[in-house]
Each structure stands twice: as structure tokens, then as C-alpha cells.
Amino acid sequence: MESLLAAVTAPSAVTDAAETVAILVLLSEFAMLRSALSRSQVNLYAFQSLAVAALAFIVAAERHVNDLFVLGSLSLLLKVVIVPAILSRVLREAPDDVAGSHRLGVASMVMSAIVLSGFGIFVIGTMPIHSKLLPVLALAIAAAVILVAFLLVIVRSDVVSQAIGFFSLENGVSLAGYVLAAGLPLIAEVAFLFDLLVAVVVFGVLMRVHHGRSASLSTRALEKLRG
């Protein structure tokens, strides 16, 4: 605990790492949004998750929080291996990859993402929550990642992209978590990860059920319920 607090008060290495990872995560979010092929999105998600897991290891080493080594390892296994494997399997079972399921043109989409990112960074950056304990820029970028993840879910009309949108939102939250709550007890972090695992399984089941019924991964067949 003491070492944790001591490290928190001298966070320059962690701050630098957090900001670098945050920028990588945001860039990969933009790439996912832009990517036409679902398979590319899965690879980008794996890369993004790797960056977030790397941050866990850096924070663990710098602040001497051994729990975060465990968490980073679990996160690596789940988000870099298991989730991409499940999504790749769904894509393999689909007769054709879902390409170009954008509801908006590329320019409009990227512009919207830039505006949302700017909004997220601006709002968090201008809030009077500055403290020597908090890398505010990394937190602000995490907020931008979350907003762009929402955009990704809205503008893509296939179930794999929408699921990736949710998983990448979770990456944004994890990023914020390492910045805000590195000392959160391991049991809580593991519970969050376990929940994510269950959610992944449910997403996988529903994607397969949907594909089984409509022979497609598109969400065009999921737009009948209205009013």
C-alpha cells in the first residue's frame, strides 16, 4: 500500500506510458471504425487489447502492484487470445465476410469520430479534477475512445463490428481503470474480467443464432421491431 501511494505521487513514467498507450488505443479505435473488413477489425481489437494489457504491466512494475501482473496476464489471455478467437470463428462460419457495412460515408464517419473525440477530451480536460495523482490526458483520451466505440456500434450494421464496438468500449474503460483505480482490489478486477468473459460467450451465442436464422451477419434483418 505504501509503495503504491509513493509511486502514485511520483507518476511520471506511468503518466508517459498511460498517455502513449491511450493514444495507441484511440488510433486503433479510429482504424477499427474506418476498416471495411470485419477480420481487420478483429486484428485491430487484438492489438488494442495488447496495448491496454501492456499498460497494466507498466503500472504494475512502476507502482509495485503485483496484483496488476495477474490482471494483465488474464486480460492478455482473454482479450488478445480468447475474444479474437471467438470472433474469428464466427467469421469463419459466415459464408462471406461482412465488408463495408458502414451506414455513413468514410469522411462523415471519421469527421464524427474526430468531433466526438475532441468533445470527450475537452470535457474531461476542462473538468476541475486535476491532481498530481491523475494523468488527466490519458483519462480524457479514454473518454474519447468510449465515445468513438459508441459511434462504431451505431454506424456499422453487422453483428461482429457491433460486438467489437462493445469490446473496444470495455478497453476504453480498462484504460481509464488503470489510470484511475490501479489499486482496486484484484478480486474486483477479476470479477470484471469474468463478467466480460461471460458477456463474450453470450455475444458469441447470439451471433451464431442470428447467423443460423438469417444466414448473414448483417443487422439489416434486426430492424423489424419498432414503435
Binding site: L133, I146, A163, G183, L184, A221, K224
Partner: protein, 485 residues
């Protein structure tokens, strides 16, 4: 009382596991037993005046959580009874086994997660419990395996999970708010946070509360993050619709109230009240408009749930203590009324083979018991006396007037009246019209009607004379919520 909390944690889960392995008849018995034991255990907690803890403080019940636990436990038992008549054997032995395993294990697991949400101590496990409700209930929504069910399940799991992602962020931000006074590593137990909240950075707490309202509000069905709700409620099997509407929405509201408690202590009540007021008015207004024009019986009830959630949020925005008592009473009354209405809708759908309001006529003639009870449940939903929602909304309105929020009360009454007109119009059109030829008069199932009777009895009890212990519990819970500076 710690044994009671451990039993609450174990029994519904055991019922879920056993139901997964048992044949349908046994699974039905196990589910009813799980519901009855959970309700009995919850009632027994009233003896302790709603204070109990177990497992080194990881499980904890206080008056506020007991109110929500009672609502969930009551619905668990009535839904289990309804499900006995609802779940019928499929075309083959194998299909029946598969359906029974999925449906009853899922139903018990769903109830278990909702029981755990108010029983666990702290924001972390609360979030986990509510997330578990999402993943389990999403699979339950898809049970009927129709196009509509799959669409509704997908929208539900996607939107609710994203909302809960925001709620998780709220939890992390709240954790950060406490690090300055509670240290770099601590458990997010409620009493600890409430005791230290006065030293938290107000801006951080405001951020956490705003995120929590958006996050948990997504599962609560607050407008504009409600869009999954009408689809999931209308396409799910009826027992699942009843649990979703009567219990899950209020359990999510419980999550917001826990953040509300800390926020009022950290920054005062004005900010959280304003946030809830905005979401509450938006929810009530949109629901009232949709209730005035509906085609689908279960969607009609789903929008009525959004209306009630809006009223809860508005009630919390009033400063008078009596409004908070009204809100908590509304949690209980909503659970009883909405489940009864959904059970009635289930009988109507089974009898007429359709959810379309235009094609259902002569409900009272077709269903001699369920028909009148469905009509009464709609009157209860519309806050007519002598039912519990009349009393709860009366208290909320009284609280609004006591808070000098006269204009707001006028808007509330106007929107509630629009909702009442919509609900009662469609109920009278479907129930009080002549029975078409070819429809056989008779109940679909005795247990389905029995579950409605239990719901109505509870509503009358809450409306006419709530038990003294319950009234005391509500007053104490409201006091806990208002323990602001």
C-alpha cells in the same frame, strides 16, 4: 441473520443448478421452492429491521436494500408459480428437456443475480450482479427462438452492456474519488464510502453520478437510453417479461440510488436531484405519448414501465421526505402491478394467439378470472385506488407539493393522465368488448391465474394498509437515502 444472507446467496443458485439437470416437472417444483424460500428469507429480514451482514461484510442488507430485495423475492415466487402453467412440453422429449433446462435454469439464475444485487455490499459487486442479470436475461429473451426474439435479445445485450460499460466507468471514477481519503487500495463498501463522502472531490463525484445515471439508467429504461426495453419486454417469454419489467428495472434504479446516497453526502442533494429530474421528465413524457398509440399488448406494458421509471426518477428529485417514501413504496407496488399485468397479458396471448391489440377482443368473456384481474392490474398501473401505486404516487405528488414544485407536479399529473387514458383505452377495447365467436371461454392455466391473484392481493395490501413493519422499513430506507448534509 448472517445465515439468512448466505442462504439467499445459495438457494436460488442451487435451484438454478438443479433445474438444469432435472426434468421439466421437477424443475417447476424446484423453481417454486426457490422462489418461496427466497421470499420467506427476505421477509425474515424484516425482523432485524433490515440490518444484517455476512461473509466479512461482503454481504450486507440495510433498509434500502431490503426494500428492493422484497420486490425481487415477491416477483421470484409469483413468476415461478406463473411459469408452472406457462411452460408446456414441446413436440419431442428431447426438445422438452432442452427447453426446460434453458428456461428454468435461466429463470432461477436470473432471479439469483437480481437477489444478489441488493444483498452484496459495495459498488463493485453490485455492478457484477447487474451485469450477470444482463447476460442471463439476454439468453432468456431469445428463448422462443423467433426472429423477433433474436433481434430483441441482440439489441438488449448490446445496448445494456454498453450502458453497463459506462456504469463500470462510474464505479471506477467513484473509486478514484475515494482514494484521497481512503487510500490507494480499498474496498468500495457502502458504509465506508458514505462515512468518507464528505471529503471527496465534488467534481469527481458529480462525474461519477452522471455516468452512473446514464449507465444504470440504460438498464432502468430511462429515456433516451431506453430503446432496448420495449423490444425485449415484448419478445421475451412472459415470465421473463414480468421479471425484466417488475424487478430488473428497479434493481438498476437501486444502483443509481446507491450512487445518489454518496453523491448527496459529497456535494449535497441539488445536483443529483436535477439530473434525475431531467431523465425522469423525458421518460415520463415519451412513455405517455407512446402509451397513447400502441399496437402490441406487451409493448403497451413496456412503455408503462418506462412511465413508472420516470415517476421514480421525478419522485427522487423532490426534496420533501414523503416523496422518497412514495418512491420506495412505488418500487414494491410497481413490482406487483407490472408482473400481474404481464401475467394477464401472457394469458391473453395464450388464449388469442396474438399480441396485436386490434385482434384481441372480449378478454373478460374469454378468461373468466384472468380477464377481470388483467383489467384490475391495468387500473392499478394507472394509479387507481385502492391499489398500492395510488398510494405511492399520491405520496410522491404530496412530496412535490411539499417541495414547492407545483408546476412540476402539474406536468407530472398531466403526463400520468395521458398515460392513464392510453392504458385504459386499450384495456377496455381488448377486455370489455363482446367475445368473438370461435373463442372458447376458460382459463389457460390455474397457476397462471393464481399468480395474478397474489399480485393483486399484494397491491390491495400496499394500497389500503401496508403492514407496520413495512411502513417502518420504508421510512428508515427513505431516511438513509436522505441522509444528506
Amino acid at each position: 441473520m448472517s445465515a439468512v444472507l448466505i442462504a439467499l446467496m445459495v438457494l436460488p443458485f442451487a435451484a438454478a443448478v438443479a433445474s438444469a439437470a432435472a426434468p421439466m416437472r421437477v424443475a417447476k417444483v424446484l423453481t417454486v421452492a426457490g422462489g418461496l424460500s427466497t421470499f420467506g428469507l427476505s421477509i425474515s429480514l424484516l425482523e432485524s429491521k433490515g440490518d444484517a451482514a455476512a461473509l466479512a461484510g461482503w454481504l450486507r442488507v440495510d433498509p434500502l436494500s431490503l426494500v428492493f430485495l422484497l420486490a425481487v423475492a415477491f416477483l421470484y415466487v409469483t413468476t415461478a408459480i406463473f411459469a408452472v402453467g406457462y411452460a408446456q412440453p414441446r413436440s419431442s422429449e428431447r426438445e422438452t428437456r432442452h427447453y426446460s433446462r434453458r428456461f428454468f435454469a435461466g429463470l432461477n439464475l436470473f432471479a439469483w443475480a437480481m437477489v444478489m444485487a441488493p444483498v452484496v455490499n459495495g459498488f463493485t459487486l453490485l455492478w457484477v450482479a447487474i451485469e450477470v442479470t444482463t447476460v442471463v436475461s439476454a439468453l432468456l429473451v431469445a428463448t422462443d427462438d423467433t426472429d423477433g426474439a433474436v433481434e430483441a435479445a441482440w439489441k438488449y445485450v448490446l445496448i445494456a452492456s454498453m450502458g453497463l460499460g459506462v456504469a463500470l466507468l462510474a464505479t471506477l471514477v467513484m473509486y478514484y474519488a475515494g482514494t484521497a481519503s481512503l487510500g490507494g487500495s480499498y474496498e468500495l463498501f457502502y458504509p465506508r464510502l458514505l462515512a468518507a463522502a464528505g471529503h471527496f472531490n465534488p467534481e469527481v463525484v458529480r462525474l461519477a453520478f452522471g455516468l452512473a445515471v446514464v449507465g444504470f439508467g440504460t438498464k432502468m429504461g430511462l429515456v433516451p437510453v431506453h430503446t432496448w426495453l420495449p423490444d425485449a419486454h415484448s419478445e421475451a417469454p412472459t415470465p421473463v417479461s414480468a421479471l425484466l419489467s417488475g424487478a430488473l428495472l428497479t434493481v438498476s434504479f437501486y444502483g443509481i440510488l446507491r450512487f445518489y446516497q454518496v453523491t448527496t453526502r459529497a456535494v449535497g442533494p441539488a445536483y443529483p436531484r436535477s439530473v434525475l429530474l431531467v431523465f425522469g421528465i423525458a421518460s415520463l413524457a415519451l412513455a405517455a405519448l407512446y402509451l397513447a398509440r400502441q399496437r402490441d399488448l406487451k409493448r403497451l406494458l413496456a412503455y408503462s414501465s418506462i412511465e413508472h421509471m420516470g415517476i421514480l426518477a421525478i419522485g427522487m428529485s423532490f426534496s420533501a421526505p414523503i416523496a422518497v417514501v412514495g418512491v420506495l413504496l412505488q418500487v414494491l407496488a410497481h413490482a406487483a402491478a407490472k408482473s400481474t399485468a404481464f401475467f394477464g397479458a401472457g394469458s391473453v396471448i395464450a388464449k388469442f394467439g396474438t399480441k396485436e391489440l386490434e385482434r384481441v377482443r372480449g378478454g373478460i368473456g374469454a378468461l373468466p378470472w384472468s380477464g377481470p384481474m388483467f383489467l384490475l392490474s391495468v387500473l392499478a398501473l394507472s394509479a387507481m385506488p385502492p391499489f398500492g401505486i395510488f398510494r405511492s404516487e399520491f405520496l410522491i405528488v404530496e412530496g412535490g407539493l411539499g417541495s414547492s414544485a407545483t408546476a412540476l407536479v402539474a406536468v407530472l399529473l398531466l403526463l400520468v393522465t395521458i398515460a392513464f387514458l392510453g392504458l385504459s383505452w386499450y384495456a377496455s377495447q381488448t377486455m370489455l368488448t363482446p367475445l368473438p365467436s370461435g373463442v372458447v371461454r376458460g382459463e389457460v392455466s390455474t397457476t397462471m391465474a393464481l399468480s395474478m391473484g397474489l399480485g393483486l392481493a399484494a397491491l390491495v395490501l400496499l394500497g389500503i394498509h401496508p403492514p407496520a413493519q413495512l411502513s417502518e422499513l420504508l421510512t428508515r430506507a427513505a431516511g438513509e437515502l436522505r441522509g444528506a448534509r
